[in-house]
């Protein structure tokens, strides 16, 4: 590559992507609740207002419908808005604007108008956030035609994918696994956390680069089984596979839509076994879609039923957080099951 790199955590990588795009394109605006002077409750926009000006990085009223609505108006009028929804748990007042409007504007106008906007929002649990700071609502968005939904699992991908999102001519929902902001999380809250500074994916190129949507990242390679994961669960998968003593093809999906089904099918045809992980509730989760697509593409290569390991079908509890979270134990049970050992 030849590009100089810098150690960054995921927040810094996201901020850097915003900074790069704001610097090279004056049409890029960044806004949301508390993102301006303060720099966001997770600090993702810290310093951007000071550097790029009050009218390029600013606070909005607490109105997620309003935030997405202005983003649509701006995007259809030539700008490249990047809106922050403070927590994915608060995106629902904006759902109508996303599902009925942003995602459909191109289709409805037969290409006369489009909404090239990016919505960033933190997802997932692991911070004792309870019912309203922990949700993973990706399936509610992958079900919408006209929207792209992506979720990086590390600083390198976060920066490259966010730049791709901003440059994409269609609306993109950019989900940020908040438990990964400071380091990879292997699923056990009692083990001291590791920082991205110690991980090779915390080595982030300076300046402009992109990570295209629709290609998986292979975390580990192995003949035993294929594990499909995204976001926080990528690292839980790595830890669980190690502990279970299996050699797995762990695929980090990165983009849920568009999905790299070719790479997934190739891996499952090789291993004959497929384990699907997500933190979100199970029923009608994205795992159901993955399971269907894998069955359709690989049925005759499967040596065992596809297994899903997920959060339970309950709201995200507070005190019982780690009983809810699909940690290494639950994943290992899933591995044994798909390996025919349970």
């Amino acid at each position: 590559m030849g590009q100089a790199t810098k150690r960054m955590n995921m927040i810094e990588a996201i901020r850097d992507a915003l900074d790069v795009k704001m610097t090279e394109d004056s049409d890029v605006l960044v806004f949301g609740e508390d993102v301006g002077y303060f720099g966001g409750v997770f600090r993702a926009t810290a310093g951007l207002q000071e550097k790029h000006g009050l009218h390029r990085c600013f606070d909005t009223p607490i109105s997620e419908g309003g935030i997405v609505g202005i983003a649509i108006g701006m995007a259809s009028n030539g700008l490249r808005p990047v809106a922050e929804i403070q927590f994915a748990d608060y995106i629902y007042p904006g759902y109508d604007q996303i599902a009925s409007e942003a995602a459909r504007l191109r289709y409805r106008s037969n290409g006369e108008f489009s909404a090239p906007l990016t919505i960033r929002t933190p997802v997932g649990g692991g911070i004792y956030g309870g019912t309203t700071h922990s949700q993973s609502p990706e399936a509610l968005f992958t079900h919408i035609a006209g929207l792209k939904t992506v979720i990086p699992s590390n600083p390198y991908d976060a920066k490259g994918m966010l730049i791709t999102a901003i440059e994409d001519n269609d609306p993109v929902l950019f989900l940020e696994p908040k438990r990964l902001y400071n380091g990879p999380f292997y699923g056990d809250p009692h083990i001291p956390s590791v920082s991205w500074a110690k991980h090779e994916l915390g080595d982030v190129p300076e300046g402009h680069y992109t990570v295209p949507f629709g290609s998986v990242r292979r975390i580990t390679e192995g003949p035993d089984l294929t594990i499909l994961a995204y976001g926080t669960m990528v690292w839980v998968a790595e830890a669980a596979a190690k502990e279970a003593g299996v050699q797995a093809d762990i695929l980090d999906l990165r983009a849920l839509l568009p999905l790299d089904i070719e790479a997934i099918a190739e891996s499952v045809k090789k291993t004959g076994r497929c384990l699907i992980l997500h933190e979100a509730t199970r029923t009608s989760g994205f795992g159901a879609e993955l399971s269907a697509q894998v069955a359709e593409a690989c049925f005759f290569s499967l040596e065992a039923p596809i297994v899903r390991v997920t959060g339970w079908d309950t709201p995200y509890p507070h005190a019982q957080e780690w009983a809810y979270f699909p940690g290494p134990k639950r994943v290992m049970n899933g591995i044994r099951k798909v390996m025919g050992q349970a």
Binding site: E33, D34, G36, Y37, F38, V41, L54, H55, F58, D59, T60, P61, I62, S63, E64, G65, G66, D89, Y90, Y92, P93, Y128, G129, G130, T131, T132, H133, R282, T283, W312, D313, T314, P315, P317, H318, A319, Q320, A323, Y324, K329, R330, N333
Partner: protein, 413 residues
């Protein structure tokens, strides 16, 4: 005050003062005897248009109570209000410190806003349903809810009636007229309107009272509430607690810099009051007026409680990052506890020694209750909440697929 934008330039409002500035809010101070007159509670809504942009105050800073809004409260009632505010404050302090020690995941204080919740609750009937936000713990204190149970909720322990399901301060106390607090802002104003409509439908004379911060008035749900409350003349009080800040955003982000929050109600044809939220007697009087109006069939009132959030938004927040450190001290409307104390002393019903003794007494009482509460578990030791309770109350009865997940969870253990 407000800067004018260039014609074609994107305008973004900014607070008058940021860290490093010397805040001066003297221009917004209003003398108590400038309060608008108290109309009949069953007046036409337009007779309160003036009240939406002025400020109802009862107490002068020297403690004197003036004007026709001054409520007829006994000295005992006032002392009870003072004690409830002090107890609320003592509890907030204790819980904040315990959060810092890792006993709970999170906490939110209401310092500076105690009069809004305590005086409001005092002017309602005990069975009137309140739909509070996370900053009206004073309602529970005033209504005599068990403080130990409140603490156990924050500790998510064996004494938590919510069995660890919710994050701290999202209380639910149906038996104390305290609706389950949602973490999703703004959603509950319109639900309170529905509650009130049900009261009216049932020919009951109960009313509902809903709260939102000024920041969350930007949510669509707030506007639904004003609209429906007006259309159906619902027996509700819609309270906007304008504490100037929504995390790091000053109130001008929510409202623009033109109008007051109370004025939002005028266009909907609601009665509108704007009250000094640090003035216990004024909050009581405004609430009493709105409650009488609602109960007698006059419909809904929008009350803006003008106050100030003296502390950080929550234990996760550091306000010195976005506002001057001494802004809470220079806020021209003082402190609700100090002001009621001054009034009680002024009328000869209180003194400094008794006040100091009561402050200490509240502290000790809270410390003792906390000790008992913590015995039932905390985040830093064990919460003692049975993990299987997470599957309960998703539905009334456990459906088959959840039953299967309960079994799967057993295997995991």
């Amino acid at each position: 005050m407000t800067k004018k934008s260039n014609q074609s330039r994107l305008y973004v409002p900014e607070p008058p003062f940021r860290p490093g500035d010397t805040p001066d809010y003297s221009h917004i101070a209003v003398p108590a005897n400038h309060s608008p007159p108290r109309p009949d509670p069953l007046c036409e809504d337009h007779e309160t248009v003036e009240h939406a942009t002025s400020l109802i105050r009862v107490m002068r800073f020297n403690g004197e109570a003036v004007g026709d809004w001054a409520p007829k409260l006994t000295a005992d009632q006032k002392r009870k209000g003072l004690r409830d505010m002090m107890l609320t404050r003592a509890m907030d302090d204790r819980m904040f410190n315990m959060q810092r020690q890792g006993k709970m995941s999170f906490y939110m204080k209401s310092r500076g806003e105690e009069a809004v919740s305590v005086a409001h609750a005092m002017a309602l009937r005990k069975d009137d349903m309140t739909f509070p936000t996370y900053r009206q713990q004073g309602i529970l204190i005033n209504r005599g809810a068990p403080i130990k149970e409140m603490m156990c909720q924050c500790l998510s322990n064996a004494g938590d009636r919510l069995q660890g399901k919710s994050i701290p301060v999202l209380y639910s106390f149906r038996d104390y007229g305290f609706f389950s607090v949602s973490g999703n802002l703004g959603t509950q104003m319109i639900q309170a309107v529905g509650w009130g409509m049900a009261e009216a439908y049932k020919d009951s004379d109960g009313i509902a009272s809903a709260f939102t911060g000024e920041g969350a008035t930007a949510e669509g749900d707030f506007h639904y509430a004003l609209n429906f409350a007006s259309t159906y003349r619902a027996p509700v009080i819609l309270n906007v607690v304008n504490n100037q800040w929504a995390i790091s955003s000053f109130q001008g982000i929510a409202a623009g810099e033109g109008e007051t929050f109370a004025a939002r109600g005028c266009g909907f044809g609601l009665a509108t009051l704007r009250v000094d939220g640090n003035d216990f007697l004024a909050v009581y009087a405004a609430t009493q007026w709105a409650a009488e109006r609602a109960r007698k069939g006059g419909g809904a009132t929008l009350i803006e409680h003008f106050t100030y959030r003296k502390e950080g938004h929550s234990t996760s927040d550091d306000p010195t990052k976005y506002r001057p450190e001494n802004e809470p001290e220079v806020w021209p409307f003082g402190d609700p506890v100090d002001r009621l104390k001054t009034h009680l002393i002024h009328i000869g019903e209180w003194d400094e020694d008794r006040h100091a003794a009561q402050a200490e007494e509240c502290k000790v009482e809270i410390r003792n209750i906390y000790k008992e509460a913590e015995k039932m578990g905390s985040l830093s030791s064990a919460t003692n909440v049975n993990d299987f309770t997470m599957f309960e109350q998703v539905y009334e009865e456990l459906p088959g697929h959840l039953q299967a997940q309960v079994e799967a969870f057993k295997e995991e253990l």
